[in-house]
């Protein structure tokens, strides 16, 4: 790569805005989170005591934390698998019809632009126990829907709203992946008498695996963090903590319970978790892109 070498000051000038923002709003707070995780602060901010790993041991001994972890895992797996399976099915259908595939893309892409919180509100209206349309349908088949009281139903509500928003993102990628598969491969398999079902599982699905892996990481990150808005606007972690995910707990313990040390310790654990996910993604990126 050709480069400018004589200019000593210019690169620093170019970098300074980004470095300043990153230092103030990223490294400083991240360092504070790590620092705070080893202290217990009294709620009025009057003083703090060094407690070493007590915040962490308290978390690992707390049934509430394991419960939030379990809820996060259930929620993330449901959202990621649901949104990906549905998107793959629709993308395969759209790829089949050829004529109109891009029309369907335009018509399916817009939910991606809807904010998670707004998606949640739209679904709350459909499932409102009093006047919701879908809750009325469910009532007609004997399901008494009230997500304000029933934890399982509250979970189902946030999962459905999250899938509704995320599906279109996955659809765009799966459709692009499908359209990149050489037709000659599929035609050759058809000539060898492989039916559509067999062609999908032996040719299409394996060739889509890089796309699927990428989407799995992106969907997990989405389910972990971006769905905070969906949860807060609809169930606010309730009823009885049934939809309190790890990120929601960080927020609740920090901003409502003022347990700063515990909130910081949870942040640190989350950072490690996300770091792991990102590392996985980077390995995948590096193996795929060659310069």
């Amino acid at each position: 790569m050709a480069t400018f070498q004589r200019h000593r000051l210019t690169p620093w000038l170019l970098l300074s805005p980004q470095l300043a923002i990153v230092a103030i709003f990223f490294f400083w707070p991240a360092a504070q989170a790590v620092f705070q995780a080893f202290y217990v602060e009294d709620p009025f901010g009057l003083g703090r005591t060094f407690v070493a790993f007590e915040n962490f041991t308290r978390l690992f001994g707390s049934a509430e934390y394991y419960r939030a972890l379990g809820i996060t895992i259930t929620f993330s797996i449901s959202v990621a698998l649901g949104a990906m399976a549905l998107a793959l099915l629709l993308a395969v259908l759209a790829d089949r019809v050829i004529k109109g595939a891009n029309g369907y893309k335009t018509l399916l892409i817009w939910p991606y632009a809807v904010a998670p919180a707004v998606a949640g509100v739209l679904w709350v209206f459909m499932l409102d126990p009093e006047l919701g349309l879908i809750s009325a349908w469910l009532g007609a088949v004997g399901i008494d829907w009230n997500h304000q009281l029933n934890g399982g139903q509250a979970m189902a509500l946030v999962i459905m709203a999250s899938i509704w928003k995320q599906m279109s993102y996955n659809f765009v990628f799966f459709l692009a992946g499908l359209q990149a598969i050489p037709r000659s491969l599929l035609e050759a398999a058809a000539m060898d008498n492989a039916g559509p079902w067999r062609r999908f599982w032996t040719i299409t699905f394996p060739l889509l695996s890089p796309t699927s892996f990428f989407l799995l990481v992106m969907n997990s990150v989405y389910a972990f963090f971006e769905t905070f808005g969906t949860i807060d606007a609809t169930t606010a972690g309730g009823p009885g903590g049934a939809t309190r995910t790890l990120v929601y707990k960080v927020y609740e313990d920090g901003f409502i319970g003022y347990d700063l040390g515990s909130s910081a310790a949870q942040s640190v654990l989350l950072m490690l978790l996300v770091g792991l996910l990102t590392l996985l993604q980077f390995r995948y990126l590096e193996s795929k892109v060659q310069y």
């Binding site: 790569m1 050709a2 480069t3 400018f4 070498q5 200019h7 210019t10 690169p11 620093w12 970098l15 805005p17 980004q18 923002i21 990153v22 103030i24 709003f25 990223f26 490294f27 400083w28 707070p29 991240a30 705070q36 259908l93 019809v97 399916l108 817009w110 991606y112 632009a113 809807v114 904010a115 998670p116 707004v118 509100v121 679904w123 209206f125 459909m126 409102d128 006047l131 349309l133 009325a136 509704w164 765009v172 692009a176 035609e187 000539m191 559509p196 062609r199 990428f214 990150v221 905070f228 808005g229 807060d232 606007a233 960080v250 920090g254 942040s267 950072m271 996300v274 990102t278 892109v289």
Partner: protein, 281 residues
């Protein structure tokens, strides 16, 4: 192509259209609810056809202060626009410069800078929310546009994408520019920026959506309704323990909250899809 089966094509179309209808249902119901008044909404199950209010609900929330918000929705839309544009333009501006330095210059500590910037990709703002809030408070950024915008610019997604793009620029271009006596600023302005036009458009779409749809950060740092964003306002309108939820107003607000990002994505679909696929590379 002998392996195609017309019967399956028909079934595909039917399933796709059913899926389209199912995906549009929440928005359809929202549009319908926004055209009713409260008493006709609460007569039973939510209606499936337009009511008699027309655009009156929209007019009301845009011009008069909404209960529990203390401000009208026009103000919220303005705040959201400032935040989304600020984040999109801010990110693109600092990213173009930083990526330019990293790709086209060789200087001491270059690798360190690279890692300092790209490690931010690992941690979304939700994870470090508490300390970031404290810093924003210390810097007097609560209830201000700068507070809404600056902390959300501190992630390197845009820088990463510009770096990827710059690395595909043929080195001959730079050599030719240098032979002609162009310095770094000249090269950036006259050659690199014109080449990056579509990338800038793609990033603009993605960052605008990202900014507009933010929830947790604006929720925390805006305690005054003068700086509240429209996405955050919905929850406050919903949490009405004392009386019935004014669904007609909530749905009208929700529709206004989705309109700008949906319009951006539909109008700029070409760039958006390109941006997404580039982000994957």
């Amino acid at each position: 192509m002998r392996y195609r089966r017309p019967g399956l094509d028909a079934i595909s179309h039917i399933l796709l259209i059913l899926a389209l209808l199912a995906f549009s249902l929440p928005v359809w119901l929202a549009i319908i609810a926004a055209t009713h008044d409260q008493s006709s909404l609460y007569t039973g199950t939510a209606p499936l056809w337009f009511g008699d209010q027309g655009l009156d609900n929209f007019r009301a929330i845009l011009s008069e202060p909404v209960a529990r918000l203390g401000t009208d929705v026009a103000r919220l839309l303005f705040n959201s626009t400032v935040m989304a544009l600020g984040i999109a333009c801010g990110k693109i501006f600092i990213a173009i410069l930083a990526a330019y330095a990293i790709v086209f210059f060789r200087f001491p500590l270059r690798r360190l800078c690279f890692w300092l910037i790209f490690i931010t990709l690992m941690l979304p703002v939700e994870v470090r929310i508490m300390p970031t809030y404290k810093i924003a408070a210390d810097l007097n950024l609560l209830n201000s546009y700068a507070g809404l915008i600056l902390p959300l610019i501190a992630s390197a997604t845009a820088t990463f994408l510009f770096r990827q793009f710059y690395m595909t620029v043929p080195p001959e271009l730079l050599e030719a520019a240098r032979v002609d006596g162009a310095g770094p600023w000249r090269f950036l302005r006259d050659i690199l920026l014109p080449l990056s036009k579509t990338n800038i458009a793609a990033l603009f779409v993605i960052m605008f959506l990202y900014g507009w749809n933010q929830y947790l950060w604006p929720l925390l740092i805006t305690t005054e309704s003068d700086y509240m964003t429209i996405v955050v306002s919905l929850k406050r309108m919903l949490s009405s323990a004392d009386n019935l939820v004014p669904w007609q107003a909530v749905m009208a607000t929700a529709l206004l909250a989705m309109l700008p990002p949906v319009a951006v994505i539909v109008l700029m679909q070409r760039y958006f899809v390109k941006g997404l696929v580039d982000a994957e590379k």
